[in-house]
């Protein structure tokens, strides 16, 4: 079977969209942290942390351009340990995806469709994401091409309108509580950075895998810019106290906008377009998850396990959390921090370890020479 290829640009777009749509859903973790009006400083820290994560994940992936993370772990650690490591990564895909589905569904229910049963919404969303995953990574790449520009316009539009509503005095005083809350505030978004693990699955599909680190960094740079400006504007609009209290501060902030007599309550349009971006992320998660699981269990085609995975996913999205407040407790720094770091560092500690040991032993060089 021919490997599907996506351009590095599309890879960047996918990562950008995944990272940039996070603040919509998980903004409370930034604004609700103790940092309050200094949340933007946490966002700055996110960039540094994410860049390190990229070097960790994508950097290793780019050294094995033809292999996804499962094959790489087999290569570096051997079959059984490799599979165990891979399962941790695959679990992160499934869990992140179900978390995002649930948050988006909760947002729809809280904000717009209070009487719709949540399972109806999550199941529909998962079905849509599965359709995209079924069509393959090329389609997800093209989808991201289409949605990226749409999203960009909407980001500029919604943040632009917020700009005129914002009262930047709300951001004062700067760093009044010291640096510690800022540091703590950045823990959870960094933990959510485990979504970057999808890059490890996407690298073998890239046109130009050697430049993957570059593409990923560009994507993260853009995404962090969006996160910072969103946090700044939302906190400035709502004020630090309300920003911390409201469940979905971004929606609340946009909802207050009134452009003219004729154009008000446009938050649905913002949610609508952010949701489009969210689906790119969901499709990527489910694609990578299914692809990796198929690899681990030795299946030819990942499409066969999409449906069972979808069912597990729906169940997980419903039974993982009782309500929206339980999501918030998962996203607390003391929970999400260690969890996210475990998902990233546990596999990659071993993988890098394996790589370095092989490097020192010179096994790779021998293999290369044997191939020649």
């Amino acid at each position: 079977m021919k490997t599907e290829k996506i351009a590095n640009r599309q890879f960047s777009f996918i990562l950008f969209i995944m990272r940039a749509t996070i603040p919509l859903a998980t903004l409370p973790i930034l604004t609700a942290s103790n940092a309050r009006q200094d949340a933007w400083a946490s966002a700055l820290l996110i960039f540094v942390g994410t860049a390190l994560t990229i070097f960790l994940i994508v950097g290793l992936g780019a050294r094995f351009p033809g292999k996804d993370v499962v094959e790489m772990s087999w290569h570096l650690l051997g079959k059984i340990p490799g599979n165990i490591i891979s399962l941790v990564i695959l679990w992160s895909f499934l869990h992140m995806a179900s978390l995002q589905v649930r948050i988006y569904a909760e947002m729809i229910i809280v904000g717009f469709l209070p009487e719709t049963p949540i399972i109806f919404l999550t199941a529909s969303m998962i079905l849509v994401a599965m359709t995209a995953a079924f069509s393959g990574v090329e389609v997800i790449g093209r989808m991201s091409d289409l949605i990226f520009f749409f999203l960009l316009v909407m980001i500029v539009f919604s943040l632009g309108t917020l700009f005129f509503e914002a009262d930047f005095m709300n951001l004062q005083p700067v760093l009044s509580r010291g640096f510690e809350p800022v540091l703590v505030g950045s823990v959870v978004p960094l933990g959510m950075g485990s979504l970057l693990l999808v890059a490890a699955m996407l690298i073998p599909h890239l046109n130009n895998p050697e430049r993957a680190v570059n593409s990923a960094l560009w994507a993260m740079g853009g995404a962090v810019l969006v996160i910072i400006s969103t946090v700044l504007l939302v906190v400035a609009t709502l004020g630090p106290e309300e920003g911390a209290r409201v469940v979905f501060p971004f929606v609340k902030a946009i909802g207050g906008i009134r452009i003219s007599e004729f154009l008000e309550r446009v938050e649905i349009l913002a949610v609508f377009s952010w949701g489009l971006g969210l689906f790119v992320g969901l499709s990527t998660f489910v694609y990578c998850g299914a692809k990796g699981a198929a690899r681990v269990f030795g299946l030819e085609d990942y499409r066969h396990i999409l449906l069972p995975m979808g069912v597990i996913w729906v169940v997980l999205s419903i039974h993982d959390f009782e309500n929206v407040f339980e999501i918030r407790s998962l996203l607390a720094p003391e929970v999400m921090g260690p969890y996210g770091f475990f998902l990233i560092f546990f596999p990659y500690l071993f993988l890098w370890g394996g790589y370095l040991i092989r490097r020192i032993e010179g096994a790779d060089h021998q293999e290369k020479e044997e191939k020649r």
């Binding site: 393959g136 989808m143 289409l146 949701g275």
Partner: protein, 544 residues
């Protein structure tokens, strides 16, 4: 042994006569294919008569060729031939061979003599099989069967009535060439060739349809269209097995990549200028005999939303019209669904005054909004469908019934609310702005899906539907070219002629995915000439 053979020769076994009544069409076809021409003239003529079933139109004119007095016959179908050419043929056979007084040199085959020295027609072919003979005679050629020869000649005498080249009804333009294709493949080919008089314009011939034997030509510019594309097209032609093709639409089914899609993956056009423009970008055209619709492949979604005028009007207007068309396409698909979603689920988005207005008009309407909308949309679709089939003389009746009886009376009777009628009318007008009929149909069907989706989830239903649509559109390919190119995958270089229309001198490159064999179209430097702010400054240096 030799005795038995001698006796059997004395009593020749009577040839079994074929009972045509008992054979089915495929058996008959097989039989025809096996049959070869015989040396005796009368045998051949009876063979032709037998297989043709002595149907209407078969003309057999027996004659003797000139001074050598060889018996011969010309066979043709009346109505398919140009009578003057047949007369000319008979004349040269009967008279010219006499008057020239030439003696056939010994050793010079008679058939070669006839072919090379007697017949003056432009096209003469030798045939040896009955099938081949029929193939030509039934296309308007005249067969010359000569006594004593197993080879006969077919002479091109085609001449039947065709429609004049007129303006297209379906693809009207304000500015630009008026000619459109007709049903004859040769006339169509000449329409294209007149615009591209280069030998590199190649047209590969195919015969499709086991019974209709339809002539199909695959036209491309050699060296510009991708060889992979041409090979793929050829292989799809080879796989096409059908008994008859009447229109290129039937062939389209065989040539498409994804048969389950609503969206057209080849572009049908009646306009030669459109075809030539496509050929210049490395696409391939398929001309089918008997239909004015020519297929173009590979095509993209955006190509369906373009009309030829865009390129002939000035740039600002061309761009404006295009953007207008995109907006219209979006309205035609989403507007009714959007309205249903907004009013049912998100009334806070509607300005209060308007919301009150809508609510007051909806008072007393017995149906939910969705039902109302689906009802009116269906009525409109029925109206449109019935309008197409009606003769022009009673066409206006439909518009009266549609506008007055259904529109006005339905509102007065309180069955539907006026805003719904406004939305449906707006959608209808918008859908007419889509220049391509096939794409318009896709939009019409999708509209119903979006109404139902947004009646369930509100705008989020619209979102789910939109995503499914995006996934579907992104997964489509037309001969390997992604359907949404150049938007997805994003190709900056090709954006100059899709959503906007750039200046001609700026369109330096051919589309990346079809015209990749020679991407540069014209001198890129000429653009500089147009960018001079003060053109008179350098006038002295200009050589011309």
């Amino acid at each position: 042994m030799s005795f038995i053979r001698f006796v059997s020769r004395l009593f020749p076994r009577k040839k079994k006569k074929i009972n045509m009544d008992k054979l089915d069409i495929s058996q008959l076809r097989e039989l025809t294919q096996k049959e070869k021409l015989k040396p005796k003239l009368q045998d051949n003529l009876s063979l032709v008569r037998e297989y043709y079933g002595n149907s209407l139109g078969l003309q057999v004119r027996e004659l003797q060729i000139g001074r050598v007095n060889v018996k011969a016959a010309v066979v043709f179908i009346e109505g398919m031939v140009d009578t003057a050419s047949v007369e000319e043929l008979i004349k040269v056979l009967v008279i010219n061979t006499v008057s020239s007084g030439e003696i056939i040199p010994s050793g010079f085959p008679f058939i070669k003599y006839i072919k090379e020295k007697v017949i003056t027609s432009t096209m003469v072919e030798e045939v040896e099989e009955l099938e081949e003979l029929f193939d030509r005679v039934l296309r308007g050629d005249t067969a010359l069967i000569i006594d004593g020869l197993e080879t006969s000649l077919t002479v091109d005498t085609q001449g039947w009535k065709t429609r004049d080249i007129e303006e297209s009804d379906a693809e009207v333009t304000i500015r630009g060439p008026r000619e459109s294709f007709i049903e004859s493949i040769h006339d169509n080919m000449s329409l294209i060739r007149r615009r591209l008089p280069i030998p590199q314009l190649w047209a590969e011939k195919f015969t499709v349809g086991s019974l209709s034997r339809t002539q199909v030509a695959m036209v491309y510019i050699k060296g510009l269209a991708g060889e992979g594309l041409i090979k793929e097209m050829r292989s799809r032609f080879a796989k096409t097995d059908i008994d008859g093709i009447i229109d290129s639409g039937q062939l389209e089914d065989f040539l498409e990549d994804t048969p389950f899609s609503l969206f057209p993956l080849t572009l049908r056009t009646e306009r030669p200028d459109r075809v030539v423009a496509a050929l210049l970008e490395g696409q391939v055209a398929v001309i089918v005999n008997g239909t004015p619709f020519v297929l173009l492949a590979p095509v993209t979604f955006f190509a369906h939303l373009q009309a030829s005028d865009d390129h002939f009007e000035k740039v600002p207007l061309g761009t404006f019209i295009r953007i207008l068309r995109y907006v219209a396409m979006i309205l035609a698909i989403f507007l009714p669904g959007f309205y249903v979603g907004i009013v049912n689920f998100h009334p806070e988005m509607v300005p209060t005054a308007l919301l009150l207005r809508i609510a007051s008009t909806r008072e007393g309407v017995p149906f939910p909004l969705v039902v109302e909308m689906l009802l009116m949309e269906s009525v409109f679709e029925i109206l449109r469908e019935s309008g197409i089939r009606l003769p022009a003389s009673i066409g206006p009746a439909i518009s009266i019934v549609g506008a007055l009886v259904l529109g006005d009376a339905a509102i007065r009777a309180g069955i539907v609310s006026p805003p719904v009628v406004v939305v449906v009318a707006l959608t209808a007008i918008a859908s007419f702005a889509v220049p391509n009929f096939a794409l318009g149909i896709a939009g019409r069907i999708l509209r119903f899906g979006f109404i139902i989706l947004s009646s369930i989830f509100g705008l989020f239903g619209l979102q789910f539907g939109l995503l499914l649509l995006i996934v579907h559109l992104s997964s489509l390919r037309s001969y390997g070219v992604p359907y949404m190119a150049p938007a997805a995958p994003f190709i900056m270089r090709d954006m100059k002629d899709n959503i906007i229309r750039g200046w001609q001198w700026g369109q330096v490159y051919r589309p990346k995915l079809t015209g990749f064999r020679e991407p540069v179209r014209k001198d890129p430097r000429q653009a500089r000439r147009f960018f001079k702010i003060f053109p008179h400054d350098e006038e002295g240096q200009d050589e011309d």
